[in-house]
Subunit: 339 residues, 2 copies
Amino acid sequence: MKIIIDAMGGDNAPAEIVKGAVEAQKEFGVDIILVGIEEKVRECLAEYGGAGNSHISVVNATEVVDMHDEPSMACRRKKDSSMTVGLNLLSKAEGDAFISAGSTGALLTGATLIVKRIRGIRRACFCPVIPNGDKGVVLIDCGANVDCTSEYLLQFAYMGSFYASAISGVENPRVGLLNNGSEDTKGTDLCKETHALLREAHEEGRINFIGNIEGGDVFTGKVDVIVTDGFTGNILMKSIEGTAKFLMKKIKSVMLCSMKNKLAALVIKKDIGAIKSLLDPNEVGGTPFLGITKPVIKAHGSSNARAIRSAVMQAISIVENDISGKIADNIEHMKLRSE
Amino acid sequence: MKIIIDAMGGDNAPAEIVKGAVEAQKEFGVDIILVGIEEKVRECLAEYGGAGNSHISVVNATEVVDMHDEPSMACRRKKDSSMTVGLNLLSKAEGDAFISAGSTGALLTGATLIVKRIRGIRRACFCPVIPNGDKGVVLIDCGANVDCTSEYLLQFAYMGSFYASAISGVENPRVGLLNNGSEDTKGTDLCKETHALLREAHEEGRINFIGNIEGGDVFTGKVDVIVTDGFTGNILMKSIEGTAKFLMKKIKSVMLCSMKNKLAALVIKKDIGAIKSLLDPNEVGGTPFLGITKPVIKAHGSSNARAIRSAVMQAISIVENDISGKIADNIEHMKLRSE
């Protein structure tokens, strides 16, 4: 297996990206192609002990997509950027998956443009796993598609199910529709229409739909896949992140506010740290765009080496489980009956 | 000032409701009317030292609205319920505000039906204060109106501003529009239309609009009023509650997982408890329905005496600041220009 990595994307590129790639190669034994400004990438490789590694190759790309580039135009305009070159390598089957910590919008547009959507899929979507102290919950969509139809959401439900099976090993993932109440009659028109489609798919045995779920159900352990439009998914994820950050900050300040608290904190510090890392995006690694013909994985913009290593692990799982293939094979179930 | 309280609403009625009412009367010196099954209410009054209090009166109501009643019909069907009788007392100016811990849906429908919307207000809305360790953030709307127009949201922004001024004393509350990114161009069509209306109101000096804010901004201290539709507001609030509950449970389990942790926990327990109560809805008390001609306040269904006391304190502040009057006085600004 060969994983293509954008060495220039993200806040800590190229150093942490290259470092993580070297670590992942050693740990998982995969081949890696690093795409970026060759001189800089080779410098980092030398620094992190990857210089002589025959499983790591470098492909030169002279440009870098940055946060000032208009997302929808970045890959079109910067044809020799590490992102565009990497996506082209994936498209030409020079590797099995592409990972980038660069701009989410640019990567989504680039993936759609260069690697293409799976035939029949209406919209590619962004599909993070929200850590919940257990196997995590797949949130689909999260930010990619602000305006959705019930058919998009039906497709998200299928794609999210295949993905949850692959990454968490759940055989028949429980799919819930994010709503403002658990009763069947709740929600916007979009929710009600989607509820009916998911119910139908469930009754035909194609999906394990458990009904409407609420914002707090990420943590109640009753759902594996949360289906929603990209707007609501973004609000959900950001509010969870914000709340967790706020509370952990408060806990930290309690642990430092007096000498006696500092002493007590020494004892429980490690266990409290474990809670923090429960929710650490670096442990989760990357987030795939589902609905693209081949695996394209977005790593967090602030990814460190550990996060890149996690993203490679995730890419391997997505490739091995052939998520893209499963989506393509099931495309007939994922369309509206009326077509 | 006279506060009418539904003695029969909520999980802990009538005991905790009456107890909280007695405490609030003593602490704040207001007059209180308790509405409910008279015999039961008087028993509780005797138990909690309110029997001889001349500032507390009881109005008999033989029925109780419960969770099995269809919300839209409850007040119509149970005309002698404590909720319906209480709303009628408010409507006839027998008191200045009405508090109930009963069904949210029934109370909203009852308030609209009996106490009526302010002339020109398109929709009454539910407007909780989310605790954030500081003055809290007003979330408007939260669950009452699933489908909204930009005009509803413009009205929510004004109503939320008056309310935030009243409860937190902020002079020119910062209003943010909940969106999936902070850039002006982000969001659904509804977001973009509302953004334009709020920008216009800001430029005319009628509102302090700070632009789009994200799900995590409840805790960043940059916004006082979060404007959104009732669907998204519900997702935001539930996810905050769920995350906080999950983390506090994890912290608790760390503090109990070993003898040494238990000993350390004894030292910091009180300070950790203070963080928990930061987010405790019982401290916030009630949530008003704004847009109704007189103050109608929903107390949490699980309200204890402390929560009822907090709700009375909040009712007093809403009456003193004449929120309903301010909304009515500003109704011309709250309409679309095209009308």
